[in-house]
């Protein structure tokens, strides 16, 4: 096996509050990202999908207790000092944040902020960087980049701001892009534009991408592999095709049957997951999904299952894989009723 670009081993993230036990948002997460591939991390609010990425980049602040390792091209990011991390952030690893309204500094021009990432890493002087900023804006499809480069974030629409964010992220040709809900704040027609630009730019700079999202539709469209998170753990992981066609984890299945589909049979009743996700302050003792799981048995209350390799490139965390009906049957009965 070729050496992976990023190899995360047993990452844990806990938050400590005064006189309270540490609340674990990520409870042991191991995964790898190959050069050039797109890995999607899917989960609902509180599943730990963003926190894991923020922890790697040292963006969580002091109250976070981080464990495990995250080897990026031979260096463990988690052991680096902030100063050393800074040479990675925005250079070899770039992040695209969810909210384009707040991710830019309102008092500096867009061009300035893009140029800054270039100057900080010593990849050009002010003049070169500003020219490059305008070029980058053009690449991501911002009209009139020459004028736009001198405008402030409030003069950009949401979609344009997110394009500018992509421009900033690819400014130094990073090896890894981390996109945290890059299109969640945008309208669908704008979302389609931004996803298109993002994928194009990823190819352009030949970067790997970790796409963090709750939107299974976006995942199906752009990712190579997917891992689904629940309660701070990866519960299922596979190639995009396998995950959508043969999901084996009860949570993944629940997510898929919860979704009203544009192409689905319209009189179907939705099949939601009962209850609500656990709080990280009160995680169930066994499997985190047990209280909501239709297949739960006694053992699930006691211990959580390990990720089990079901097939090549397909892992799922469940004690009761054998008890579950074939996914095709689940879909068929849904259509039949």
């Amino acid at each position: 096996m070729s050496k992976r670009l990023l190899e995360v081993q047993d990452l844990t993230v806990g938050f400590k509050a005064k006189k309270k036990p540490v609340a674990h948002a990520v409870r042991g997460m191991s995964y790898g990202v190959e050069r050039g591939e797109t890995l999607a991390i899917v989960g609902e609010s509180g599943s730990g999908k963003s926190v894991g990425a923020l922890a790697m980049l040292g963006l969580l602040g002091r109250s976070a207790e981080i464990g495990g390792s995250a080897m990026f091209d031979g260096v463990d990011l988690l052991t680096l000092k902030q100063k050393e991390l800074r040479t990675y952030r925005g250079r070899r690893i770039a992040m695209i944040f969810q909210d384009p309204m707040t991710a830019f500094h309102p008092a500096f021009t867009i061009g300035n902020q893009i140029a800054e990432t270039i100057i900080v890493h010593g990849l050009g002087n002010k003049k070169e960087a500003m020219t490059r900023a305008a070029d980058l804006l053009e690449m991501v499809g911002v009209p009139e980049p020459g004028t736009r480069v001198d405008q402030y974030p409030h003069e950009f629409s949401g979609g344009m701001r997110q394009r500018a964010m992509v421009a900033m992220a690819i400014a130094n040709k990073p090896d890894l892009l981390i996109a945290d809900e890059p299109t969640t704040a945008l309208d669908v027609t704008i979302q389609a534009q931004v996803m298109e630009v993002l994928a194009e730019m990823q190819r352009e700079v030949d970067a790997a991408m970790i796409l963090i999202t709750h939107d299974l539709g976006v995942v199906a469209n752009v990712a190579d592999r997917v891992q689904v998170m629940y309660g701070g753990r990866i519960v299922e992981r596979s190639t995009v095709k396998t995950l959508f066609q043969q999901p084996r984890n009860p949570y993944t299945r629940g997510l898929l049957t919860s979704l009203p589909r544009l192409d689905g049979s319209r009189e179907d009743r939705l099949d939601p997951i009962k209850g609500s996700p656990p709080s990280i302050l009160a995680m169930p003792k066994g499997c985190a999904f047990e209280p909501r799981c239709p297949f739960a048995t006694e053992i699930c209350k006691e211990t959580g299952a390990e990720l089990e390799e079901l097939w090549l490139d397909h892992e799922s965390r469940c004690h009761n894989h054998a008890a579950m009906p074939e996914w095709t049957d689940v879909i068929d009965t849904k259509v039949a009723t």
Binding site: S157, V188, T189, G217, V240, L262, L270, S276, P277
Partner: protein, 347 residues
């Protein structure tokens, strides 16, 4: 289950509408300068007409700034419309006095988008849910008892009544918001993005609940949302809005199977489908540009700046909403009929 037959039928379409909206216009003044003179207008809703039959669910979809929320609020007169008429059960809401309006609100209630902001954090749940009844003259003890019944109807426990909003999750709060809308036994509920703040697994619970309540209490829904998959699931008829105008109205199947407005087609093709095989074979039309500002809309057809098939005519003349076939109206000079597909035309 026998409810597989579509809920709309022809006699409903010809009966008296529960809600009738005629040429509703809501413009907001833009004020500037020391004297706060009006320097322009944000044309949020620009002449919308629609009819909603009893027991029907009409979905209103569009992107931010299309006026869907303003439309919903203007119908209830939570925002005073600039002009136009709204009738509920034949009575004109827009002409009602304040006291009469309050009585009319018994028949029309609203569920708001943000379950965090729409519940008073300092009121226990049973007060929140029984407040509408108390306002309308029901004694407190009786109102609370009724609140308990409606809490049960939305799947909460009666003892939840003593708790405060912060003790509930987003999905539970939205249930509280729904219970509050139900207590006056309204005919019409305007649901403004009722599930968009919720996670998918919770979203499905709330959608199922809304469907159950509709059957149980004979409700009529105006369902405002930006998510076309959700709207398809719940609606009988769908209204598509763009920049304050209705661009297409059709029953659900027609709208999703034979969309005639270029915007509707583009909107449908922009939605990612959670199935990699379908995604790989889909022809997508990615609309160029941003949604123009409703304070300064384009001349003629408001969609023309982003429309891939716009011509000079579109800049000159605003297309009227015209009927393609009974129940299917579209506002376009060049509607895509007989299976015409935008992505083919663009190539």
């Amino acid at each position: 289950m026998t409810d597989t037959a579509p809920r709309t039928n022809l006699d409903k379409a010809t009966g008296t509408p529960l809600l009738q909206v005629d040429d509703l216009v809501t413009h907001f003044p833009i004020r500037a300068g020391l004297l706060k003179r009006t320097v322009g207008w944000v044309q949020a809703v620009n002449g919308v007409s629609l009819r909603v039959q009893p027991n029907e669910t009409v979905g209103i979809v569009g992107e931010s700034g299309c006026g869907k929320t303003t439309l919903g609020r203007s119908i209830l007169r939570l925002i005073e419309p600039t002009s136009g008429k709204v009738y509920i059960k034949g009575e004109e809401v827009t002409a009602a006095s304040n006291s009469r309006l309050r009585e009319l609100r018994r028949d029309m209630q609203m569920v708001f988008q943000d379950p965090y902001a729409s519940l008073n954090p300092r009121m226990p749940i049973h007060d929140i849910v029984s407040e509408p009844l108390q306002i309308h003259g029901t004694p407190k003890s009786e109102a609370r008892e009724k609140a308990g019944e409606y809490l049960a109807a939305v799947g909460l426990l009666p003892e939840h009544g003593n708790r405060y909003p912060h003790e509930f999750s987003g999905g539970q709060r939205q249930r509280v918001g729904i219970a509050r809308a139900l207590t006056l036994e309204p005919d019409l509920i305007v649901l403004d993005e009722p599930v968009s703040a919720l996670d998918v697994s919770i979203q499905a619970q709330v959608i199922n609940l809304l469907e159950d309540l509709q059957d149980r209490f004979d409700l009529t829904y105006l369902f405002i949302a930006h998510d076309l998959s959700v709207v398809r699931h719940i609606s009988d008829r769908v209204v598509v809005m763009y920049l304050g105008n209705v661009v297409e109205i059709a029953d659900r199947d027609t709208l999703y199977d034979e969309p005639a407005h270029p915007y509707t087609q583009a909107l449908l093709s922009a939605i990612p489908v959670p199935d990699p095989e379908i995604e790989a074979t889909r022809d997508r039309v990615v609309l160029q540009g941003d949604i123009p500002s409703p304070a300064n809309p384009p001349s003629g057809c408001r969609f023309r700046t982003r429309c891939p098939i716009a011509t000079d005519l579109c800049a000159e003349e605003q297309p009227a909403l015209t009927e393609l076939k009974p129940g299917h109206q579209v506002a376009c000079h060049f509607p895509l009929v007989d299976g015409a597909v935008l992505s083919d035309l663009v190539k």
